[in-house]
């Protein structure tokens, strides 16, 4: 895992000093609301319904145990004993005091963390595959490139006041687990016909109010041109992106309005002027790769027999292994998901006690490393199979072992009315209701792979438009209503969900979801997933059921 150099540390320390000054100036009235707003957003600080919200960057979702303990400490001392993991691999604190935020940022800097550019109209935290470096379908580990991009985007002097926010995601695997088709720029590591590895570059994807699937702007970009190509895209966007209407300011609208051909001509012209003077050297790439060398895996872990024995004798353990672990490229190891979707806690939330315990478990079992997934769960990526049983017992005691990864209760859910001033409707409460309606684990496992995403308004923080089932809170004359979409996906077969019909009332939404799942159970073909069935039969059977009974 990447360790800060002196330069990195100086940069975050100087940023803390800068923000401390800005906060003091604001409190003294020397900066206006508007001015301070732009500055605080670039340090992760929103101000909303109840209190400020501080969003801390999880650099491409990777944390070490020391950092996790620091998050626990911050939750305990500056917040109400919990924090929230987001869909962009970041960490949010819901109750910090504005005047104490510089102090929190200094705490973060002491463990090589920051909140720089986690909000505001600038380049945001770069995200990636939570199984990077350990999955079996990887072309190349994306993390060295993520760190190179992290550095390039951080405090970029030219591109800090963009028309709108800008998000980059990188995937190094055949299966896209980073929703790269829904980012302003998506990068895929791919191999060309000559056997060289480079990037397929996508541009103009995004969620929010106008969900759009990104388009390929460069089928193959040599690695040495990564930063010059990003620079060319950003410059064209900075110069020509719309600034007259914030709902049309994302790069996706620029690409759509100018057409991909025209847009890519401009980028190409700009790039050719930059390219040769801005190469990423092979040495720099090689040095960065050394920061992400695999940990010291043991050799004979696959010989362990206790794992199979425990599975055979303990059904709960076997079920958990089935659902909450992923295959690892090293035989005898597994990647383990920690479910932050226990039925009785808000999706993505974690307490200080859980954080501390997970830090300890990661030290004991997983080389001191923890990852954040874009579905708001955590991963311990390198667990020996012989350790799985003990780890499961610990996680179970911590309520982090609900065997529901990838299932109906592994919902992505935004804060909604409970915390967000923009919300039309509640979402955490509905998630809880759906959880209660689906309290039979066997039924949930029978439904199998399904992604339910729920946002409290059309900003779409919880990616409802790409949920297999999407739920969107809408306001109808002051009452909370919900619009349902089916068939969305953020993975390889990217799609935007289709609207089922008129929105349904709050007291009907849970029933509607249960109805939809019932239609699936009754009509699926053998081994057919929910998404496959929706793609086969369309929305009509679901629609008939939901609106017949409501």
């Amino acid at each position: 895992m990447y360790q800060y150099t002196e330069t990195d540390q100086t940069l975050v320390d100087e940023r803390v000093a800068q923000f401390k000054r800005q906060t003091e100036q604001y409190l003294k009235g020397e900066l206006t609301e508007d001015q301070f707003r732009a500055l605080r957003l670039r340090n992760g600080l929103y101000v909303q319904t109840h209190a400020p919200l501080l969003r801390v960057a999880g650099p491409y979702g990777l944390l070490n145990s020391k950092q996790v303990r620091k998050l626990a400490y911050i939750a305990r001392h500056y917040d109400k004993n919990y924090c929230h993991f987001t869909t962009r691999q970041n960490i949010q604190f819901n109750w910090p005091k504005l005047e104490l935020v510089p102090e929190i940022l200094a705490e973060l800097a002491s463990v090589q963390m920051h909140a720089i550019q986690t909000s505001g109209n600038c380049m945001r935290n770069t995200t990636t595959d939570h199984l990077a470096g350990v999955c079996v379908d990887e072309v190349e580990d994306p993390r060295p490139y993520c760190e190179i991009i992290r550095q390039w985007t951080t405090l970029h002097p030219e591109f800090d006041y963009l028309p709108r926010k800008f998000k980059i995601a990188v995937s190094g695997a055949l299966h896209d687990r980073a929703a790269t088709q829904f980012h302003d720029i998506g990068l895929h590591l791919v191999e060309n016909d000559a056997g060289e590895i480079g990037f397929r570059v996508l541009v103009g994807g995004g969620l929010g109010r106008t969900p759009i699937i990104g388009q390929v702007i460069k089928p193959f970009l040599e690695k040495k041109h990564l930063l010059s190509y990003l620079e060319a895209i950003l410059r064209i966007y900075n110069l020509f992106g719309r600034r007259d209407n914030k709902y049309k300011a994302r790069i996706k609208i620029l690409v759509k309005e100018s057409g991909l051909d025209h847009f890519s001509d401009r980028v190409e012209k700009e790039w050719l002027l930059l390219r040769d003077a801005n190469e990423l050297s092979a040495e720099r790439i090689a040095a960065m790769k050394l920061e992400f060398t695999p940990p010291a895996y043991e050799r004979d872990t696959a010989n362990d027999t206790s794992f199979e024995e425990h599975k055979a004798t303990n059904k709960a353990f076997a079920t958990w292994v089935d659902h909450n672990t992923a295959i690892h490229k090293v035989p005898g190891y597994k990647a383990v998901f920690l479910s932050l979707k226990a039925p009785d806690s808000p999706p993505g939330d974690m307490t200080d006690t859980q954080l501390d315990a997970v830090a300890d478990l990661s030290d004991q079992y997983s080389f001191g490393e923890v990852r954040v997934t874009h579905r708001q769960n955590l991963v311990l990526a390198d667990i020996k199979q012989a350790d799985l049983f003990a780890l499961w017992q610990h996680l179970d005691a911590l309520k982090l072992a609900t065997p529901n990864i990838g299932t109906a209760t592994d919902m992505i859910c935004c804060p909604g009315l409970d915390f967000c001033s923009l919300a039309n409707a509640g979402s955490i409460g509905i998630a809880k209701e759906i959880n209660e309606a689906l309290d039979d684990m066997d039924y949930i496992h029978d439904i199998g792979d399904i992604k339910i995403n729920m946002s409290g308004c059309m900003n779409g923080c919880a990616h409802q438009s790409v949920g297999h089932i999407g739920i969107l809170g809408v306001d109808k004359k002051g009452a909370e209503w919900y619009q349902i979409t089916l068939g969305g996906s953020s993975e390889n077969e990217a799609a935007i969900g289709e609207r089922l019909g008129p929105s349904v009332a709050k007291d009907q939404i849970t029933k509607a979801i249960v109805d939809i799942l019932d239609v699936y159970i009754k009509n699926r073909l053998e081994d057919e997933s929910f998404l496959d069935m929706v793609n086969r039969v369309g929305i009509t059977p679901f629609k008939e059921q939901v609106y017949a009974t409501s």
Binding site: T7, T10, L11, E14, R15, Q18, Q22, L31, Q35, A38, L39, N121, Q151, W152, T154, L155, H156, P157, E158, F159, D160, Y161, L162, P163, R235, N238, L239, R243, L273, N278
Partner: protein, 150 residues
């Protein structure tokens, strides 16, 4: 009026001439429209001539004129309009403009570090009381991750 140029406080010797105003004597700046319409008389002007650019003006249209321009003022209508950062970068890096580039209008002193990195070397803040902040904030960071002009 005073401004910060190359990290020193200096007096402003320039005067902006509105589109319907007379050039008079001394060092003057004009809008892009005026530059395009009155170029001949501006080239004969006794005193230096500068250009005041808005974000929407862009810089591509003045590339051939740069040798006759002694100052470019980048005027911020709103501090969040980041196009001027790219304009400064283009003027310096791509078009090799060597004379003064000055930030004027509604930017904030907290932006001067970035502005100086993309090639702005003079700052006339909206409020003269901001001059000390400009001087301090030019030193916000001692390290950087990317290439730019500075």
């Amino acid at each position: 009026m005073q401004l910060v140029k190359d990290k020193e406080i200096v007096n402003d010797t320039w005067r902006y001439v509105p589109d319907d105003g007379d050039f008079g004597d001394g060092d003057i700046t004009v809008s892009l429209a005026r530059w395009k319409s009155d170029q001949q008389s501006l080239l004969n002007h006794k005193g230096k001539v500068g250009l005041r650019l808005l974000p929407s003006d862009g810089v591509d249209g003045i590339v051939d004129d740069l040798e006759n321009i002694q100052l470019i003022e980048l005027e911020f209508p709103d501090f969040a309009d980041g196009r001027l950062f790219s304009h400064a970068w283009l003027l310096r890096s791509r078009y090799n403009f060597r004379n003064e580039i000055r930030a004027i209008g509604h930017y904030i002193p907290d932006q001067v570090f970035y502005l100086s990195r993309v090639g702005v070397n003079a700052f006339l803040p909206a409020k003269s009381s901001d001059i000390p902040f400009v001087l301090t904030n030019l030193n916000d960071f001692t390290v950087k991750y990317q290439n730019s002009v500075n």
